[in-house]
């Protein structure tokens, strides 16, 4: 049992670190084709769009567009705070406070 747990931990560590380390190890030594560099410049906006959409519209792993989805309500003030302040910290504060208030009054 104990050995199983350590095997699980080391296996998961290998699977989570290799995908991050190997591409950097390869491409900082070799030249990257310009088309790939251009394509990769769109990875950040794409991935954050996807993560945002899923975390707000499917917070429990299933799409929920109903009024009872507090994440959608909390999204509105948080998005506004992000646009206005452009500050990660302030946006985070507004988001957490909005969610706490929503949970208190509606949850």
């Amino acid at each position: 049992m104990n050995a199983d747990i350590w095997l699980m931990i080391f296996g998961a560590a290998l699977a989570s670190l290799a995908p991050r380390i190997i591409p950097v190890a390869i491409f900082t030594r070799r030249k990257m084709p310009p088309w790939l560099e251009k394509w990769l410049s769109f990875v950040a906006p794409a991935v954050l769009g996807a993560l945002t959409a899923v975390s707000i519209l499917a917070p429990g792993g299933v799409i929920n567009l109903g009024r009872d989805n507090l994440y959608i309500w909390a999204f509105l003030p948080t998005f506004a705070a992000g646009l206005i302040t452009k500050s990660i910290f302030l946006t985070l504060l507004v988001g957490i406070a909005s969610m706490a208030a929503l949970f208190h009054f509606m949850g």
Binding site: S16, I22, F42, V47, A50, L92, I96, F103
Partner: protein, 229 residues
């Protein structure tokens, strides 16, 4: 100069750590519940540093999943980091020695990636900045896991404090900050839609994050096409 970069990295890590607190805490609770010792729970956060991956691994372990299935699922969950890692290379190349850059990439989580990419768009990458950012975020992750593994029995709900919205709020903020070109907006919109549709029609991809990979591939490709027109 080095000191300034270290401080800046530390400062930029603060929102990340704040976002990790409830998540790491929850992991600590869950890990103990799945049969891991305190030391094992903390070791896992130290060695893996992957939110979703760790949750899935201990969940599968508790359910009696095979080692092979756990490792393969983790590989799937973490595959998107290969894309992230590759996209940081143009900024790191010739600024940070290759071996060091590769080693520091171990800490490339969603949040570390987005914060550092935002930094690189205005300032050149430095090893000191990245070291401070990664180490601080990682310590926050380990510390909150430890807290959860110790205190798990006493605290029942972080929802009451709104902490469950810390990561979504972080994503929202980073998404807004990272949009520079008009084509970035189209890439993000296409990716949002793809992630939801793929996740809806193939529900298992919601759990293993494969929908995020599909969304990234389609969103980034659309971004390039629109950008070139």
């Amino acid at each position: 100069m080095i000191k300034h970069e270290l401080q800046q990295g530390l400062r930029d890590s603060f929102p990340i750590v704040l976002g990790y607190l409830p998540l790491g805490f929850t992991f600590g609770v869950l890990a103990r519940d799945s049969g891991l010792s305190l030391f094992q729970a903390v070791s896992m956060s130290a060695l893996c540093f992957t939110g979703a991956g760790q949750f899935i691994a201990v969940g599968m372990f508790k359910a009696g999943g095979s080692l092979m299935a756990i490792v393969l699922t983790n590989l799937l969950v973490n595959l998107r980091y290969a894309l992230f890692a590759a996209s940081t290379v143009p900024y790191l190349k010739e600024r940070i020695p290759s071996a060091l850059a590769a080693a520091l990439s171990y800490g490339l989580t969603d949040e570390v990636y987005a914060v550092s990419m935002n930094r690189y768009r205005t300032y050149p990458a430095t090893a000191s900045y990245l070291i401070a950012l990664v180490a601080s975020a990682h310590l926050g992750w380990i510390g909150s896991s430890l807290a959860g593994a110790i205190l798990g029995n006493f605290i029942t709900s972080t929802e009451r404090l709104g902490m469950n919205f810390a990561l979504p709020a972080m994503y929202i903020s980073l998404m807004i900050i990272l949009m520079r070109r008009r084509s970035d907006i189209y890439a993000a919109l296409a990716a949002s839609l793809t992630a939801l549709l793929v996740g809806h029609f193939i529900p298992s991809t919601m759990a293993n994050n494969f929908n995020i990979i599909a969304a990234t591939l389609i969103g980034a490709t659309l971004g390039v096409i629109i950008n070139e027109r």
